[in-house]
Symmetry: C2
Subunit: 286 residues, 2 copies
């Protein structure tokens, strides 16, 4: 069993995910350093004792780190993978928490050999963002996808497993491309539906003044993801574009089928599809 | 202030909505009768003391009732509005809890003059159904739309207001047609998106076996409505078809816009729309 106690772990990006990770690792006894370009975020990280040290300086933050965890939007992760190369000349595990994995893993592949890279994606989140929303229990009970590279050593994988278990999550090994195809359907597509619903309701509200008064729990559940952090979602949409467009096209076929059944008042056809959806959704956790 | 204590109120349909209404009215001291064609439902209603009497016989249940509340799917409400005519020859308020109002109110218009009709739609629900899910607190804090007819007397409206307040809800007067246009957007459209999402994920799961493992809270929120009672939703789709098709068409324009922006990688265009949706959704209750 890997002992996290003697490690220096640097988390770059102390928002919701990074801040929550720091909080969750707090009891492991590792030395935790937080790096964020925002001074106020670092002050909060220190005030809440999420980290042992917080800095705006990447070079300072990663110095001597055994493990660097990049917890920013995906395109910032891609930039950081360039930025850390001249700053680290010792053996170092580099992991990320990015929402899409193919581009990150491809970039990690080009890191110098003293880096031990590994992709990661915890399957949890909130529609709030920033360190103010950080919660040490965010990861507990949730899946945490790990996307190793061919060059990722067994030791590095063991370390990642130990960290994932330490924060109460369940490690799940997955190929980066497969991960991206699956989350396009289960996460990115739902976000786009939620946004389109909100945009449609805004159009509706322009002619019917009671729309927001009657937006009850059903509307709120279905549209909740539209409140997600926009910069994070933009990076997702632009780094997982092909898989997302494929999911959208599958979705639009299903939606068009339902529209056609409603148009021709095909009660039996509707009942068959709606029952199938009802049974499928009822089988999932609430 | 209207006193509910001396009234005999009959609720027809003791499912989630009717059972919860009975539970919520329990402390008002009115005489409550439940009518349901399902014997077991009536047994549960009596065992949980939701009503003073439960019967499968509509004629028996509505005898001498001051107020009859129809709490079934919409097309059953339309049939019940025919069925009660030969059974009631005394002055009687007839109200319903149906999810669409135009067809119900049109039908109520043809009731004999000793009936005092009024449409109602509580803006709350659950994806569970049946009396087992009944909850006396279901209505508390939620809007309760009332759609009076021209023939609805001030006294009847006062009674409905008193009942709505007694169960902790907020009465909201609305024209039946307007109600239907608004809920097409805020409730029926979200249901269809949720179903299409589940259907799309089922297609995706046929080729990617990890789809259900990675369906995290975002997917679950967005798809939750797909677990709604199918017979209730079918009645909604078929009695509010035109308004629903109009909402779908507005929604599809918004979705197509997003797809086009993703296709041409228009980052600025995406950011503008997503920010607008983010701000709008963040302004709503969680």
């Amino acid at each position: 069993m890997i002992d996290l106690r003697n490690l220096k772990i640097t988390i770059v990006g102390m928002g919701l995910m990074g801040g929550s990770l720091a909080g969750a690792l707090r009891s492991c006894g590792c030395l935790l350093v937080g790096v964020d370009r925002d001074v106020e975020t670092n002050e909060i990280a220190m005030a809440r004792r999420l980290v042992d040290r917080a800095t705006t300086d990447l070079a300072d933050g990663v110095r001597g780190a055994d493990m660097v965890i990049l917890a920013t939007p995906v395109r910032t992760i891609l930039r950081l993978l360039d930025d850390i190369v001249p700053l680290i000349d010792h053996a170092c595990v580099v992991m990320d928490l990015g929402s899409t994995k193919a581009r990150v893993v491809a970039k990690m592949q080009s890191l110098p050999q003293h880096f031990q890279p590994l992709g990661g994606h915890p399957m949890c989140g909130r529609e709030t963002s920033g360190i103010a929303a950080a919660d040490a229990l965010l990861y507990r009970g949730n899946a945490f996808v790990l996307t190793p590279l061919e060059r990722t050593s067994g030791e590095t994988l063991d370390l990642a497993h130990a960290m994932v278990k330490a924060i109460g999550a369940h490690p799940m090994l997955l190929d980066a491309e497969r991960h991206d195809r699956v989350v396009a359907m289960t996460s990115h597509l739902p976000y786009l539906l939620a946004c389109s619903l909100v945009a449609a309701a805004q159009m509706g509200a322009a002619v019917e003044d009671k729309v927001w008064n009657l937006a009850a729990s059903g509307f709120r559940d279905t549209s909740r993801l539209a409140a997600s952090n926009v910069e994070m979602m933009l990076d997702i949409l632009l780094t997982n574009r092909e898989a997302i467009l494929r999911s959208l096209s599958i979705y639009r076929v299903q939606l068009n089928d339902l529209v056609a059944l409603i148009e021709r008042e095909d009660e039996d056809g509707l009942r068959r599809i709606l029952n199938q959806c009802q049974q499928c959704r009822s089988g999932l956790a609430v």
